[in-house]
């Protein structure tokens, strides 16, 4: 069994090493792109079962954003929705034999957390302006500036570590049980891994929504969003 903390490149494109996480991500992207293009071509005013499921997903994401941020979900739907769908499918990709989920690698989680961090800054500046956004770091007092800056960084790290730890541990445990016991014994653990993957996708998306909502509302970490921040 390979060490999940070490990434081995599968091949190189010029000087760029291509790891399994990148390759699986491309596969997931291809599937999602194909599905989206196919789905967008068959959207009807009177939906069928599949379209209803997709609409339910989009409507649920919109409802979550609206409940959390008390704002129109349209500007945030693509980012939050993509993070949720990608993390969910990545987590569940472990069910396919031989596929290691991209979120079980630190680089993927770090890239997603980095995007959330940058989006938080961009949305905050867009909503409040640069001056007010930066002034929010001195809320309630200038003494809090270092703590708020550190909190911005640590919560991003917490996003990374939470997702990475949960997914990687699941894959790791299943790998150990599979190598030690037999073929059918890890099935309950894989079912549990499905639940864990869904919960982690939800938590990652909701935390991203909370962080962005906090930046948009002002007050940064001290802001109180409509939905309580989930913990894991």
């Amino acid at each position: 069994m390979e060490n999940p903390l070490i990434t081995q490149p599968l091949f190189y494109v010029g000087p760029v090493p291509i790891t399994s996480a990148v390759l699986v991500t491309w596969g997931i992207m291809a599937c999602l792109t194909g599905f989206s293009v196919w789905m967008s071509g068959r959207l009807r005013t009177t939906p069928d079962g599949l379209q209803s499921a997709v609409e339910l997903l989009v409507d649920t994401i919109d409802g979550q954003i609206r409940d959390t941020m008390n704002r129109d979900p349209e500007p945030y739907r693509a980012l939050i929705g993509t993070i949720f769908v990608f993390v969910l499918i990545s987590n569940w990709s472990s069910l396919i034999p031989g596929i290691e989920p991209p979120t079980a690698h630190l680089e993927t989680d770090a890239a997603l957390a980095l995007i959330v961090f940058v989006a938080t800054v961009i949305y905050g500046v867009q909503a409040q302006g640069v001056k007010d956004y930066l002034a929010g770091f001195a809320d309630p007092s200038w003494v809090m500036i270092p703590l708020n800056i550190v909190e911005q960084i640590t919560r991003t790290f917490s996003l990374i570590v939470r997702l990475f730890g949960n997914v990687m541990s699941g894959v790791f445990v299943i790998g150990i049980v599979l190598s030690l016991a037999g073929l059918f014994l890890p099935i309950p653990l894989m079912a549990l891994d499905l639940l864990t993957g869904a919960v982690q996708a939800y938590i990652f998306a909701v935390l991203a929504t909370v962080f962005i909502g906090s930046a948009v509302e002002g007050g940064h970490a001290t802001a109180k969003p409509a939905t309580k921040e989930p913990t894991q």
């Binding site: 291509i18 989206s36 789905m39 005013t45 997709v54 989009v58 993509t82 680089e107 995007i115």
Partner: protein, 244 residues
Amino acid sequence: MSIDWWALGLQAINALVLVWILARYLFRPVSAIIAERKDAAQAELRRAAQAMEKAEAAKSAADAERAAFARELSDLQDKAQYEAEEIKRQMRLSAEQEAAQIRQDAAKAVDQMQKDARHQMGEEAATLAVQIARKLLTRLPQEAQVSEFSTGLAEALAALPDATRSRIGAKGPVAVRAPRALTPEETAKLRGDISGALERDVQVAITVDPSLIAGFELDAQTAKVRNHLAADLMQIKEELVRHA
């Protein structure tokens, strides 16, 4: 543990690309179709509300029209009932008037019949009385049938206009009817009385007519002078009939 910065960069780019792709081909079209359906549903709800308002308005109009019809029907019924009552009253009044007229006509007819009957009875009674009187008078003595009647005849002639009197007996004997054949004395007295009344001497031609009962009747071309009981009885009869 080490960080593969190439992988981190590629995954960040992959994630951003995936955000763009899903936004372009999934979230935007799906949210657009949801919004379109919501708009269509809202439009349908608005149309339904408008249709309901129209239906309510139509129902109100129908109720008002039905109420108006009911009022009109009631008015018509009242009017028809009033007209029927009026016609009935008119018919009753007309019938009463007609009945009164019929009663009045019947009463008139009865009255006329009674009057006619009385008249007829009076006429019959007068006729009977005249016949009785005639029969009784036929039993008068012979001299009473002519005596003193010539004097009355002369007085009647004297009362005639002079022009009439002058033409009587101018062209021959004066025709005189008597109830019986006169004796020469009676004829002479008659001739004398007539000549005296005409103030000239005239001849008389006596004709016997028992229907006179008693008295004389002078029959000239220009006048008739009666002084006999048959004429009196006829006059009495006419008076009796007229006053019956």
